[in-house]
């Protein structure tokens, strides 16, 4: 468990370096990534893959909105870090590997699962934005 917490913190913080994140937001990025991953691994066994990803990305989204308002930076800086551990990169890789190995049925199955997970992440983020707008009650041009 501690290993998971530590590695997810480090992974999220170092990953955003590849995306040239501002240096002062690295710690917050790591924190968002870690909390999202923590919720995901806690829920994964109970409710299944997609709902766990959905709740984790909703949490990530809410944290990002809070951080974005507090530090006055765009939401995307934190949300990238938060969702990176959740994105089905490994699954997309598996799907493609099955494809090139001529295991088409398995590949399509994994591919569909990938899309569902990616959709769950997106829904979680959008939900957090909707919540944010409802709480603010200030009409703005954003999604």
């Amino acid at each position: 468990m501690w290993a998971q917490l530590m590695t997810s913190f480090v992974a999220a913080a170092t990953f955003v370096i590849l995306f040239n994140a501002p240096k002062k937001s690295l710690l917050q990025c790591g924190l968002v990534g870690m909390l999202g991953w923590l919720l995901y691994i806690l829920l994964r066994g109970e409710v299944g893959e997609a709902p766990a990803v959905l709740s984790a990305s909703l949490l990530v989204g809410i944290l990002c909105q809070l951080f974005a308002r507090f530090y006055r930076t765009p939401v995307i800086i934190f949300s990238v870090a938060g969702i990176i551990p959740l994105v089905p990169g490994g699954m997309a890789y598996n799907a493609m590997r099955q494809f090139v190995e001529n295991r088409y049925t398995a590949a399509i199955e994994t591919g569909a699962e990938t899309i569902v997970i990616a959709g769950a992440i997106a829904v979680g983020l959008v939900l957090s934005e909707v919540l944010n707008q409802m709480l603010r009650r200030r009409p703005r041009g954003q999604m």
Partner: protein, 251 residues
């Protein structure tokens, strides 16, 4: 005449801000939002923008013609997004004149990366190793994933400088990762090939692109969403093919 020049300048300013944001991988709605916000701040009440990953069109309802900017190179640069966002907010609050804003935007556009290449490679290596543990790998595989992940990222950066084809550089980088992983497993240095491979291709994987694509689709930016999705699929295919070719070599 004076009025006209200032409208023209405003359009240029909006396009410059939009271009920097789009090249840095900002979400479609944020690009449109920023451009409209700048336009409103300089008195253009009605303006329209159309943003796709490859081109950007901006027009006002006056007599000025619509302008188009082609976007060829797209990366993810969060620092630039934050910069331009801050500038656009200052413009909206009336702090900046058009000339100052343009100067600041040009400065933001030419800003270099915050981190040097060795730091980035190190970051990619650490990311790979951490992902290995998160995806259920074991600690003995930590070092192999670290090495393979770092060299995979280095390969994609160097190859992209030589050949400007994204698919090729990603494919070759995945091939390098796959061969290294196989070598490590063959030498007995690494244990589980699959885990190490997934961990060490993570810095290359288009995870953000997949998620942004679906977000764009949901927000109604259909063209952006579909083209980003196609881009992501192509990258995923390149990586999968690279690893698969590496496996074929050894059988």
């Amino acid at each position: 005449m004076d009025q006209k020049i200032s409208i023209y300048e405003t359009i240029e300013l909006c396009l410059l801000a939009g271009k920097i944001m789009l090249q840095s991988g900002a979400e479609t709605y944020r690009v449109e939002d920023t451009m409209v916000r700048i336009a409103t701040a300089f008195g253009l009440a009605e303006s329209h923008s159309y943003v796709t990953p490859t081109a950007l069109i901006f027009s006002t309802s006056g007599e000025q013609p619509a302008k188009l900017i082609r976007i060829e190179e797209r990366t993810t640069d969060l620092h630039k997004i934050a910069e331009v966002n801050a500038i656009s907010r200052r413009i909206a609050s009336g702090e900046l004149s058009a000339r100052d804003a343009k100067e600041l935007l040009l400065k933001a556009e030419s800003a270099s990366f915050n981190y040097t290449l060795p730091v980035q490679i190190l970051a990619a290596a650490v990311t790979s190793a951490c992902f290995l543990i998160m995806f259920g790998g074991t600690w003995p595989d930590f070092l192999p994933a670290l090495l393979a992940g770092g060299s995979g990222f280095a390969a994609v950066v160097y190859l992209h400088r030589i050949v400007q084809v994204k698919f090729f550089s990603e494919f070759s980088a995945a091939l390098v990762v796959g061969l290294l992983d196989l070598l490590f497993v063959w030498l007995g240095f690494g244990r589980e090939f699959d885990k190490i491979a997934i961990g060490s291709v993570m810095p290359l994987v288009p995870g953000l692109l997949i998620t942004n694509a679906i977000r764009d689709l949901m927000a109604g930016h259909l063209v952006s969403g579909i083209s980003k999705g196609a881009d992501a699929c192509l990258t995923a295919f390149a990586i999968g093919a690279g690893i698969a070719v590496a496996i074929l070599f050894f059988h």
